[in-house]
Symmetry: C2
Subunit: 363 residues, 2 copies
């Protein structure tokens, strides 16, 4: 077996140790005589797996006791609807910051289901910056403030949590692509959500971390399965949860603790991305990253080639060299290297070496 370095944006590479443990336990978990896939979600084996996963996540993120952790299905797209349905709470509108394609998707769905005010947008400069907070036109009566801490498609990331003028407005964040990549002060947020398939585990699980006082105020007519209270009141077992994906997420949380936790991951992630950005910036314009230096993502490094006709050649040769998933999102083209927690530093080094060699041969 020759494992490739997988730079896909999501579903994404997972720690090899986690995959090996899953493989070893696949037909018989811990002497239970069955696979985790086969366990009743209400049996003692799976209940223990589920509880440990939640506790490990709480430990990693230091989640305060007045926050619920929900293990849901449907991806961030379902959250785009659940958030206005649950958090508008009779107010006229919520504030949304537009920093890219994922912000826009959240805004689009919220607009269909309730009032939205876009406080600022970086569309005019092709989402290569974050709008300066001085220009945000926030609403003191907003039901909540929504933003996207990391925009996966263009590679734009907030390196600080915004401080709102009105601290009483719940901050809501789509952390699908940067959760667990560094420590974060959960108490600053009303709600954090994340699809699993980048830094958590396989696709098919969505984590929601929500302050308890925001639960239980869903709009009349909200489907039961879109009401946070349904899951908060049942330890996320109102119906059968995605048990195997929950287990895999738990293995990833254990792995993160073994690595030393999120401060260690932050150091590693900063180092990995800094090395790759330096390789791009030091290429005499052969490679180019369009994103402003202050908001370059640690997770998704986007770049283009000065000679765009070389891009297919680059991708093909990279693939042949065992560097997979480097094609940029179809909306923007170019290249994108996703450097989530599970991407080892050696993978980034291999990419940098390949890029230097490619430039040498084609520069």
């Amino acid at each position: 077996m020759q494992r490739v370095h997988n730079f896909s944006a999501g579903p994404a590479t997972l720690p090899l140790e986690v995959l090996q443990q899953a493989r070893d336990e696949l037909t018989d978990w811990n002497g239970s005589g069955m696979s985790v896939m086969e366990m009743s979600h209400r049996g003692r084996h799976f209940m223990a797996i589920a509880a440990r996963a939640e506790q490990d996540l709480r430990d990693l993120l230091a989640i305060p006791p007045n926050y619920k952790v929900l293990f849901l299905q449907g991806g961030a797209h379902t959250q785009f609807a659940m958030i206005p349905l649950n958090l508008l709470r009779g107010r006229a509108s919520a504030d949304y910051l537009d920093t890219g394609d994922w912000s826009l998707k959240a805004i689009g769905e919220a607009r269909r289901l309730g009032g939205v005010r876009v406080v600022a947008s970086s569309a005019a400069n092709r989402y290569t910056t974050i709008p300066p907070q001085a220009g945000w036109e926030t609403d003191a009566q907003a039901a909540y403030f929504h933003y996207t801490p990391n925009e996966t498609i263009r590679g734009v990331e907030f390196h600080q949590v915004p401080v709102l003028a009105n601290a009483g407005i719940p901050l809501v964040a789509d952390m699908s692509s940067n959760i667990l990549s560094r420590p974060v002060d959960v108490s600053r947020f009303g709600l954090i959500y994340a699809g699993a398939q980048k830094n958590i585990g396989p696709a098919g699980l969505t984590l929601v971390i929500v302050r308890e006082d925001l639960i239980g105020q869903a709009r009349a007519g909200t489907p039961t399965m879109l009401d946070y209270a349904t899951f908060a009141d049942s330890d996320s077992m109102y119906n059968t949860p995605p048990t195997y994906t929950w287990y895999m997420a738990g293995l990833v949380f254990q792995w993160l603790k073994q690595q030393g936790g999120l401060a260690v991951m932050a150091g590693r992630n900063q180092r990995k991305s800094a090395r790759l950005y330096a390789a791009i910036d030091d290429s005499d314009g052969f490679y180019r990253c369009p994103v402003a230096a202050a908001c370059r993502s640690w997770m998704n490094v986007t770049f283009t080639l000065a000679d765009a006709s070389l891009e297919p050649v680059f991708l093909q040769q990279a693939e042949a060299a065992g560097l997979s998933g480097l094609k940029g999102h179809r909306l923007v083209g170019g290249m994108r290297a996703s450097l989530y927690n599970a991407m080892p530093e050696a993978g980034v080094d291999a990419l940098i070496d390949f890029m230097a060699d490619f430039r040498h041969r084609h520069g």
Copy 2:
């Protein structure tokens, strides 16, 4: 490793050959250098896996070309909402048949979101029969007719598909617990849905088979993720689908084809359940099945002990004998043996032997 016989109602036992293949491919699928869990859902590897799974399902059920197959998340509970949101199509109400706890859940959610008429109920006899069709008070203007072909909790199953007086009314069926257990004429239905965790694969995937003319008429204000059109228009890849669960379902479909298809499974399932019901009926009242003979489920065999105080002893000794998951649903107590496709005939024989021995020791 000693695998148990797992009679859980769901998540449920999977074919050992399927689990072994999943294990062998876990860190490297087909020389791709990555796990299926790590693959981009839009990459060629996963697209091939997804397409093959759909084709195999179409082959197994002989699904006509004017039906879409959707691979969704959220379980049958989410369908309880999606069905009225998508299929009421401006009509006053839909007809629901009440044959047990799962019917009631579907009715409850539809009532929250639209008009429901309950055409008949077997509640009065504790859901041990199916109401005779002569007594159904159907509505000629109903938007659709919903029923539950197999009630998992009490073990009641339809052995024929109802023929409605008004053939133009779409028949909607929750086949979560008996899909793929026997051949079915899909063209008789407007929509079939099923959570995966019984006869399809691990939890976290929901199959919907829907006639194309019923798609695209969702009520205004329906969240995008609850609109069948969203998934019909995108080959179920509007957002990241539960890729690994989809792959596992595909392995189960391949296994079913290798077994000889659904006619073979039907024979096996009928045989397994008939042997177990005979063991119950021939126990001189030591064991007793409360369900009327004509509607006893092939999938979920429920029974009690004449001496209820022996039931915990039975369950404990069964567990010690490698017969797991036999406890009845908490709503009804007693015992339940789920005999889905993946339960081998040897497992049923082991249970019958244990029951005879237990009766010998305690009768």
